[in-house]
């Protein structure tokens, strides 16, 4: 570890400085991520790789721990509100865990340059996704487009709505057999929201791929989980976000063991990262009502694009 951080024998000021810098970086990422509506883990790995001289394997290991601890911390409250459903997450997490273990094994074998290239592409893609989300929200507020599908839409579903859902095929049989439907009380609106999962088989296949990316790059992959759960499986958005956390617990947990066994989970990197991120997300949650999300989102996009371009430049040139 000391050698990793560039110090000699015994405790070094450089080691403590690196830990303090990681703590501050993660605090800032955690704060900005909550306000901008971006996952903290997906910002941590690329930014820490770009800013520190620590080997990317250790950064990815810490990234998985950041995602795991964040998801564990959020899980009890989400389960209590019935937003996060175990019976949806178990089959998807199983598929995702298989992918994440394969991804972690492969990720630790491939050359560092390939990982950095993938991280640079991921950073630019997440910046693009965040920009698109911001643009859609902006247009939605101006009333130029139909508002994005929300949980409020569900209670107005006509009677017999679920009768029109597919009744044939493997996915439909699984949904019926595993009882992947239900309802919850939206804490924001106080209305009852009904839901029914669809296309469980394609979703499980996709989650193997999402898990592989998460395991290889050391990210929680909530940016990929939520679209699959909401758009492909037809779950309400809030429930998709909450269930994504449950899936991240299993996927990151399985992949993190691989990093731990390989010696790539270093407590002197993991602990400041996790502590900074948790403190940052708490501060970010308090700032939600005061900070301007557009400004923070623009800042996050700018940082992601600059860091992505810098990483890309470092790999290609």
């Amino acid at each position: 570890m000391i050698e990793l951080l560039g110090g000699g024998a015994g405790p070094t000021a450089e080691m403590y400085l690196t830990m303090a810098s990681l703590l501050v970086l993660c605090f800032l990422i955690g704060t900005a991520a909550v306000v901008a509506g971006v996952g903290g883990g997906v910002m941590f790995v690329p930014l820490a790789s770009a800013l520190f001289t620590i080997h990317v394997d250790f950064i990815r290991g810490a990234g998985l721990m950041v995602a795991l601890v964040g998801a564990i911390a959020a899980a009890p409250a989400l389960m209590e509100k019935r937003l996060s459903r175990i019976r949806i997450s178990i089959p998807l997490a199983l598929a995702g865990s298989v992918g994440s273990v394969i991804g972690a094994r492969v990720g630790l074998l491939v050359p560092e340059d390939s990982i950095m290239l993938a991280l640079a592409i991921l950073m630019l893609a997440v910046a693009g996704q965040t920009a698109y989300q911001g643009w859609r929200d902006h247009r939605g507020r101006r009333g130029e487009t139909r508002p994005a599908p929300s949980d409020d839409a569900a209670p107005s579903e006509p009677p017999g709505y679920h009768d029109h859902l597919p009744t044939k095929g493997l996915s439909a049989r699984i949904v019926r057999s595993w009882n992947l439907r239900g309802s919850y009380l939206d804490p924001g609106t106080g209305k009852k929201v009904t839901w029914q999962a669809r296309r469980i088989v394609p979703a499980m296949v996709l989650f193997i791929g999402v898990g592989m990316i998460g395991g290889a790059l050391g990210v929680g992959a909530g940016w990929a989980n939520v679209p699959v759960l909401a758009s492909l499986m037809g779950l309400p958005l809030k429930m998709a976000a909450a269930t994504s956390g449950m899936i991240i617990v299993a996927n990151s947990g399985a992949a993190a063991w691989v990093y731990f066994r390989q010696g790539a989970l270093d407590p002197l990197i993991v602990l400041p990262a996790v502590a900074g991120m948790i403190a940052g997300t708490r501060v970010g949650a308090k700032l939600l009502g005061h900070a301007r999300p557009e400004t923070v989102r623009l800042l996050v996009i700018t940082v992601l694009v600059l860091a992505g371009a810098r990483t890309l430049w470092g790999v290609l040139v």
């Binding site: 721990m65 199983l94 057999s177 947990g253 993190a256 731990f260 002197l268 993991v270």
Partner: protein, 109 residues
């Protein structure tokens, strides 16, 4: 804090510290796992165990292990619950998930 809760918390912290000392200095394992050992002896063993960064390293490793074990504990609880209510598809899936956790934890894959 209620007396029972406090005792549980103190017991957990004692276990946490013993594990950290053992990681920092494996030779202490036989002494520290003795049921009659007092808290003062554990703390003095901790102080003797290693340099401050190494102690931090061992404490951190215990914390990481704790976080890695939490999902496994959750899945064991789910596995038992599904066995009791005989939801066999979920019973099998939680069993498979536990097998994944155990195999990666043991370094089989």
């Amino acid at each position: 804090m209620k007396r029972e809760s406090w005792q549980t918390f103190a017991g957990a912290m004692r276990g946490f510290l013993i594990l950290a000392v053992v990681i920092a200095d494996p030779a202490t394992v036989l002494i520290l796992t003795s049921p009659t050992i007092g808290t003062e002896e554990i703390v003095s063993a901790w102080k003797r165990s290693a340099s401050p960064p190494a102690r931090l390293f061992s404490l951190g490793n215990v914390a990481i292990l704790g976080f890695l074990i939490i999902p496994m504990v959750g899945y064991v609880a789910a596995f038992v619950a599904y066995a009791k209510v005989r939801r066999w598809p979920y019973f099998v899936m939680t069993l498979l998930q536990l097998l994944i956790f155990v195999t990666v934890a043991l370094g089989v894959v």
